[in-house]
């Protein structure tokens, strides 16, 4: 087991299997089809992301450098949360970007029964170490255990 320490953006404790994107996550391209056509697994629809394309994002510990793309990104993430198709948590190697932060904060403030803990600033070493399917446990203080 390896432990990484990041910064808590939105708090929560959860254990889930890792899903890793080494490139930036294009939120709109990744979630749109799933939200549009009722895919409860939130299968990633971004053909430009070979790490995630075709994989289930709902319920996964999504590990990524940052999100990229359209400024609809935050509201798309908010909708994924409202429709209960969000990742179990989002773990950023870099400082969180403004679009992902918007989505996480909107869900935290405006949705009553949804939690999607977000930790950022975990560093490149985290993203180099973590692999799809590893078990990830995160704690309120930003500690991330990878097993």
């Amino acid at each position: 087991m390896k432990v990484f320490k990041g910064r808590t953006v939105t708090p929560g404790t959860i254990t889930a299997k890792a899903l890793v994107s080494h490139g930036g996550l294009n939120t709109l391209a990744s979630f749109q089809k799933a939200l549009q056509f009722g895919d409860k697994k939130a299968t990633c629809g971004d053909q430009n992301n070979p790490d995630l394309y075709g994989k289930q994002m709902a319920g996964a510990a999504l590990c990524l450098p940052q999100t990229i793309g359209s400024t609809t990104g935050g509201l798309v993430l908010y909708c994924a949360c409202a429709m209960k198709r969000q990742p179990a948590c989002m773990l950023f190697a870099n400082h969180i970007d403004s679009l992902a932060a918007s989505g996480a904060v909107l869900a935290e403030v405006w949705l009553d029964d949804i939690t999607m803990p977000v930790v950022d600033c975990l560093g490149d070493e985290f993203l180099n170490y973590v692999k799809d399917g590893m078990t990830i446990t995160i704690k309120d203080d930003g500690t991330v255990e990878v097993d």
Binding site: A29, L35, G73, V76, Y78, C79, S98, V105, L106, E108
Partner: protein
């Protein structure tokens, strides 16, 4: 919460102006704190601009949130424009595609436009991603603080107009207008506007705007680049041609990466005012020559099922075309058709522009000339058209690197587009 608020801001947060406004303020404060913002600053632009213009069924939670705001009597403190409408009967689509558009995708369009009107839409034609065009009228002044979203508009406002705006997400954009404040961090600060990349453009000819922007966006991601070498082609004045080039260049930097601000040596306002003092210590360097642009172009995946399929549709205008572009492209299409001995374009071709720009274009003699070539004009958002899965299966070509990034459309340079749509046209 550690942000220092003014008494007015604190009163809103404490719920003295209602529970809903308190939640709006809490959202903005939490958002700012994620970036270490220590204060909120007043939004000073006359108008806002929102990225969400489409009544997409998948975004029902957004409309529910908007409904909550409207029900509480909340209004935007500023009128606003919004991104383009998603559907236009002028744009070719078959029965099945229309069925998907109307029944599954944009079934909430009328409902959402009604919400926008209640919240403060500028006017019924204020739907475009290029709200800053003179014909539209949402052009902020240098130094204005904005709460805009729409990545291509934000990067233009910051870079070409010298306004100050972070890359806000949809919903967060209108929240800034509602309370009248935005958190002070990133591109709102002098420090955040310093360039951490030096880009040297050493190409043998004027680079394609959307290809150059793509290369820079993919390299610098969300950082600020200071670009040398472009002024030799664009000059040192922000005339209509230069602004049009920078519109397309910026959209590609913002969509292929996450650029919110760029500086062009000797051209953009802050670069002219402060020069190389805008470059941060330790800035990285990226040199772009012909080979690098060729490498970037070759790296784009072609996601058509039949990679050699004959294109069935061509989109130009993502972001929306300027009046200058509509005119110059009319000349180019006419000339290319003459050279190929054809009268009309051989592929259904759609030029998109803001409703206000199209109105002005219609007043010129160019409008009839363009219509005679077979090119269709529209106010649509090509991206929203391509999001229809049945449209996504079509081989569509575009010179927009933004459209390429978000959809299955294949990127062609402007010259390649011209050749493709005019060769072998109807005699």
């Amino acid at each position: 919460m550690s942000m220092i608020l003014t008494p007015d801001q604190q009163a809103i947060l404490d719920g003295q102006k209602g529970e809903t406004l308190a939640k709006v303020m809490k959202t903005l404060v939490m958002f700012g704190e994620a970036f270490g913002a220590e204060k909120m600053v007043a939004v000073t632009s006359q108008y806002n601009h929102l990225v969400t213009s489409f009544g997409l069924k998948a975004l029902t939670p957004v409309y529910e949130l908007m409904e909550k705001l409207i029900a509480e009597g909340v209004k935007s403190g500023q009128k606003f424009s919004a991104d383009p409408r998603p559907i236009d009967p002028n744009v070719p689509s078959n029965i099945l595609q229309n069925f998907i558009f109307k029944k599954f995708m944009y079934s909430k369009q009328d409902y959402y436009e009604n919400q926008l009107e209640k919240l403060g839409l500028m006017d019924k034609d204020a739907f475009t991603c290029t709200c800053y065009m003179s014909e539209v009228g949402n052009k902020p002044k240098e130094g204005d603080i904005l709460s805009w979203s729409e990545s291509s508009a934000v990067v233009y406002a910051n870079s070409v107009l010298g306004a100050r705006c972070n890359r806000n997400s949809g919903i967060m954009d209108i929240m800034g207008s509602i309370v009248g404040y935005v958190p002070y961090f990133g591109l709102l600060t002098d420090e955040g506007r310093k360039a951490t990349w030096i880009v040297r453009v050493n190409t043998s000819q004027k680079p394609e705007a959307q290809l150059l922007g793509s290369a820079i966006g993919m390299k610098v991601m969300e950082d600020v680049p200071y670009v040398f070498g472009l002024d030799q082609w664009l000059g040192d004045t922000l005339d209509e041609k230069a602004c049009t080039y920078l519109k397309d260049f910026g959209a590609a930097t913002a969509s292929n990466g996450a650029v919110g601000l760029y500086h062009i040596a000797n051209l953009t306002p802050e670069a002219k005012k402060h020069g190389e003092a805008l470059i941060a210590e330790g800035a990285k360097e990226y040199i772009i020559d012909d080979a690098e642009l060729e490498r970037v172009k070759a790296s784009y995946p072609v996601v058509w099922k039949d990679k050699n399929a004959k294109p069935k549709l061509c989109f130009m205008g993502c972001p929306h075309m300027s009046l200058e572009q509509l005119k110059s492209w009319t000349d180019r299409v006419e000339q290319a058709l003459r050279e190929s001995g054809a009268q009309r374009v051989s592929i259904p071709t759609v030029f998109t522009a803001a409703p206000g720009v199209l109105k002005e274009f219609e007043k010129t003699s160019y409008a009839k000339r363009l219509k005679d070539t077979g090119v269709i004009t529209s106010y649509i958002c090509p991206l929203m058209y391509m999001n229809n899965p049945l449209c996504a299966k079509m081989p569509v070509i575009t010179s927009s690197n933004k459209l390429r990034t978000y959809t299955t459309a294949k990127y062609y340079t402007d010259d390649e587009i011209l050749k493709e749509i005019t060769k072998g046209g109807a005699k």
